[in-house]
Symmetry: C2
Subunit: 241 residues, 2 copies
């Protein structure tokens, strides 16, 4: 353990943290990964022990190349989830002078999208838990606010980026995709118009169906065509949902 008072500066410095809003989708609801505070073997005295919070932690000044690296490292440490640095999108900075009772802490919030089915096994159930978007508990610090801003950022970004495909499994159906869009945008679409519009973009590839699904007519399965998406995008096309 480091000796107290080891690091001195001529002027006061704030602590800087990165927080992570990790969104997942189980085919029905949008979910968020939260941790319970307290178990940490961390530097500073803990605060909000026992409460739910966003995963996150302190920037390591001489290790973390960027604040996104902090986010990735802390997410791994606190939840077991190992994501690439470029999976994190910045939400914004939260800097209210009293947002942390211990000392002045500025946090840079990020969000990330994961394929829930594929990563569910990786999340350390001891520390972390997936919560439905509609059933989020009260959170520590200003994390409620961060969560709201992160969601609104996701809602904006879905208009211009194919973020939906990062939340769905490799192979998915149109009704699944539509339901996801409806969950994020909080609206309802007409099934036929949604399908027409999606197909018009030519970014879906039909996949040969193997495993029939549950109790109704089996929907056609698709895969996101990233090659074509990148090609269209480089030709100046916009997604515009």
């Amino acid at each position: 353990m480091a000796k107290k008072g080891q690091y001195t500066y001529e002027y006061p410095h704030p602590a800087v943290t990165a927080d992570c809003v990790v969104f997942g989708y189980d085919g029905k609801e949008l979910k968020v990964l939260l941790i319970r505070r307290g178990q940490e073997k961390e530097a500073s005295a803990t605060a909000y022990v026992g409460e739910w919070a966003l995963p996150g932690g302190f920037l390591e000044v001489d290790k973390d190349k960027t604040i996104a690296h902090t986010a990735a490292r802390e997410l791994k440490e606190e939840t077991g989830l190992k994501l690439s640095v470029k999976d994190f999108r910045e939400v914004g900075t939260f800097s209210d002078i009293n947002r942390d009772p211990r000392e002045r802490v500025i946090t840079v919030a990020h969000y990330a999208l994961v394929k829930l089915a594929e990563v569910a096994a990786d999340t350390d159930a001891e520390k972390a838990e997936w919560f439905s978007w509609t059933d989020i508990p009260h959170l520590a610090f200003d994390h409620d606010k961060i969560l709201r801003v992160a969601f609104s950022r996701l809602k904006q970004n879905i208009h211009f980026e194919p973020v939906g495909f990062e939340l769905l499994p490799e192979v998915f159906t149109l009704p699944q995709l539509q339901h996801l869009y409806e969950s994020i945008l909080e609206v309802k679409f007409d099934r036929r118009n949604f399908a027409n519009k999606m197909k018009h973009y030519e970014i879906l590839t039909e996949v040969a169906d193997e495993t029939p699904r549950h109790g109704t007519r089996t929907p056609v399965k698709y895969r996101f065509d990233k090659e074509n998406y990148d090609r269209l995008k480089s030709n100046g096309f916009q997604l515009e949902f």
Copy 2:
């Protein structure tokens, strides 16, 4: 002056700064306010002395309520320009481990839009200078990158917010407004379609013309109708330019 080594922490802390990209518009070109580094009577040893840079400076840990307050305070100190805290929109965080040669410095970039004609007299010509967007010098630190990101953020936001009106004088003409949109979006519009679309939004109020203008047919003058804009917006309308 504070004694050296006065502030100690158990773990290393980064310094945090706020930088400001202030955009103005002179009726012809988009402009940016820059300062020349060096004159500062600041805490830390200076870096990039004599080079051009974005105005900005260090968070005062126990004074600045939020990082936006830092931006406003530093802009005032360095350029004389006094803006309200809510005039600043966050661009993003820049945190590369080597972006400042002195110590680890995280900066939160902001942008602000001003009515150039009204504030030009306030800017301290000793320290600050307005540069045309098309003729920006090389900047200190990673400020070139920050500037590019700030501009792209402005470019995005103009689609959803009436940002154009923050850059124009109270009273302006349609050709001025169109030219501003073209400058920011880097496209050309058809004059008639632009006028039709704008008028369709019903956010412009015609103003009785008093002072005829320069060498051609005098254009009709307008004022931004904020009341109606807010009303339309609360009814769920979108600007969508």
